[in-house]
């Protein structure tokens, strides 16, 4: 059938294509040569995987059982680094800071992203402009320049307090107050809701309009349609955003480093886990302890991702 069509559309005088059997044999002969070519094309990736990823993973696991300060050889200490973590108050603080940050900022960020995606999906004019404006902070959010700006915006005489002062409210020095410093970083993360919003928008576009029309005909109001149609059909996207943003949030570093002046202050209120890890590894050159901390971070991220996947069975609906 395909051969016939081809012959009919072939320009006059063109060589007729080879019969299908010959063609298939030729292709399969080429396939066998694929193997070698594939390894050539993958050669850089293989080298990178071994030298930059897998090698360092194994080395990191080894260092986590050693005392190593870059001077001399690593000294095997068994589980000592891991035992030390159990009693390390500062590490517990940093875990608390990081968990609070992840579990407060990610839901807020996703809720805002979903809310605006819903508004924008209702066919407002100028969608492209709104989408771009809201998305811009996602690109800038991780930069040092924005973290510097944040430190100033939430400073004692910064923009936020100037605006509050306009309404007669005397604000705090937010970044220097132990109760509020973490909050300013939560605001910064929520501010970058544009990236998940774009993904939500793409997902909303996939929901067939006829579902809403059918429900509307049956008398379902907007709220009912949102919870009975939009949310269930969007759960795979919500799940995707949740996993991604959680993994990202656990690794927050730049903002914490700059806003806290590099020391996690005030009173360790912004001592994020990655910041503490950096200080142990590259401040104190305690490479063994930093490696052990990195493995705990990996375990935490893998654990939460696994829990997400397991729990997803109960609330994520994959149509068809």
């Amino acid at each position: 059938m395909i051969g016939a069509t081809r012959e009919r559309t072939a320009p006059p005088g063109a060589k007729p294509p080879p019969p299908r059997a010959t063609r298939r044999r030729a292709v399969s002969r080429l396939r066998r040569r694929d193997g070698l070519a594939a390894y050539v094309f993958l050669a850089p990736w293989f080298v990178g995987l071994l030298a930059i990823t897998v090698g360092p993973i194994l080395a990191s696991l080894y260092y986590s059982f050693t005392d190593y300060s870059l001077i001399g050889d690593p000294q095997w200490v068994g589980l000592e680094n891991y035992v030390r973590m159990i009693g390390d108050e500062r590490l517990h603080t940093s875990l608390g800071v990081t968990f609070t940050y992840v579990f407060v900022s990610v839901p807020l960020q996703l809720a805002l992203a979903l809310a605006l995606a819903l508004v924008l999906d209702r066919g407002v004019r100028g969608l492209a402009i709104y989408r771009s404006v809201y998305y811009l902070p996602s690109l800038l959010g991780g930069s040092v320049a924005i973290a510097i700006l944040w430190r100033r915006v939430f400073g004692a005489d910064g923009l936020v307090n100037q605006v509050l002062g306009f309404f007669g409210i005397q604000g705090e020095g937010w970044v220097s107050h132990p109760d509020y410093a973490l909050g300013t970083l939560v605001v910064l993360n929520v501010w970058t809701f544009g990236a998940p919003m774009v993904i939500f928008l793409a997902g909303l576009r996939q929901i067939p309009v006829m579902y809403h029309e059918a429900a509307a005909v049956d008398g379902a109001g907007p709220v009912r349609r949102f919870f009975s149609i939009t949310v269930p059909l969007l759960t795979p996207i919500i799940f995707f955003n949740l996993v991604l943003q959680m993994i990202n949030a656990f690794q927050t570093f730049t903002q914490a480093f700059i806003v806290s002046g590099g020391d996690g202050g005030p009173s360790d209120a912004t001592m994020f886990y990655t910041l503490y890890l950096y200080r142990e590894g590259f401040g104190n050159f305690d490479m063994g302890y930093a490696s052990a901390m990195a493995w705990l971070l990996l375990a935490i991220i893998a654990g939460f991702t696994a829990v997400n996947f397991l729990a997803s069975k109960y609330w994520v609906f994959y149509g068809d």
């Binding site: 850089p44 309009v209 002046g261």
Partner: protein, 287 residues
């Protein structure tokens, strides 16, 4: 992106409701952008005015913040911009070359262990950099690469940014296979199919990769902070950080001026590459 007619939305209060939506959306957008605008306006204000006046229009216009910030550190600011550009350019070339090669193999070639290696590749996307950074530092220190740009560029030449392999695999899979099979029947080798057929057709994916690599590398702080400790090698983010630390009484006007300059290229790429950025993020979720 597919658009759909929004016939389902009730039209009862059409006009007023739409107006309200726009006012709310614009208002919210302004609140979001206000800190950025404030930063740019503050970069033209004398430091004392930054803290007393939230308005966006400077009362006293101080363009001197820019030359002052430019020369405030050990090297003039273009030195750090140049360093950043070298790292960025190397990273873009590396990612484009190495990731597209790997993607071609994963998307088009049959080989033993393809599924396994593809799975490993996907797993590496999720791997936190903190797990490998200590041994990488030790490795690069042994190679005497600390305070060079090699630790920042060489990994890209080895396709360690697996997001982009994934992005390109997805893209190449969407290209019609007939084209390269026809070329193979005509006797083209893989190198020619890759260079003459697949790469030219993959321009949107390559553009997305280049733009995201630019923005990420330009913004990256963690690895540049670790691998570059000599002021001569500092990139823009690391230089900005020393700016904050260098003076106890930070001169905010010049600091904001340099921060605005640091954000400039991202803003430029954002304007130029919006289409690719939005598509890239909608299909793969990178940000």
């Amino acid at each position: 992106m597919v658009t759909k007619p929004h016939t389902a939305a009730p039209r009862m209060f059409g006009h007023r409701r739409r107006l309200f939506t726009h006012v709310a959306l614009i208002g919210f957008g302004l609140v979001m952008l206000y800190p950025l605008l404030w930063m740019i306006s503050s970069s033209f204000k004398p430091t004392s005015e930054i803290f007393s006046d939230p308005s966006l229009i400077p009362r006293t216009f101080v363009p001197q913040n820019y030359p002052e910030g430019w020369t405030a550190l050990e090297y003039p600011f273009h030195h750090y911009i140049w360093n950043s550009l070298v790292v960025v350019a190397g990273s873009i070339v590396g990612n484009l070359l190495a990731c597209s090669m790997a993607a071609y193999a994963f998307a088009r070639l049959e080989f033993r262990g393809r599924r396994l290696f593809f799975g490993i590749m996907l797993t590496t996307i999720m791997l936190p950099i903190h797990v490998v950074i200590v041994p990488q530092y030790i490795l690069f220190a042994n190679l005497d690469w600390i305070n060079t740009f090699y630790p920042l560029i060489v990994p890209k030449l080895l396709a360690t940014d697996a997001f982009f392999i994934f992005l390109m695999v997805q893209f190449i899979r969407g290209l019609p296979r007939d084209l390269d099979e026809a070329a193979r029947i005509d006797g083209c080798g893989h190198a020619r199919i890759f260079l003459r057929i697949v790469l030219p057709l993959s321009m949107p994916a390559l553009a997305t990769t280049a733009i995201f690599t630019f923005i990420w590398t330009w913004n990256d702080f963690f690895s540049q902070l670790i691998f570059l400790t000599d002021p001569e090698m500092y990139t823009v983010p690391v230089a900005l950080r020393t700016f904050v630390d260098s003076q106890s009484q930070t001169s905010w006007g010049p600091l904001f001026a340099m921060s605005a300059i640091a954000l400039g290229p991202i803003f430029g790429f954002f304007l130029a590459g919006q289409r690719y950025l939005v598509r890239g993020i909608a299909t793969t979720g990178i940000k």
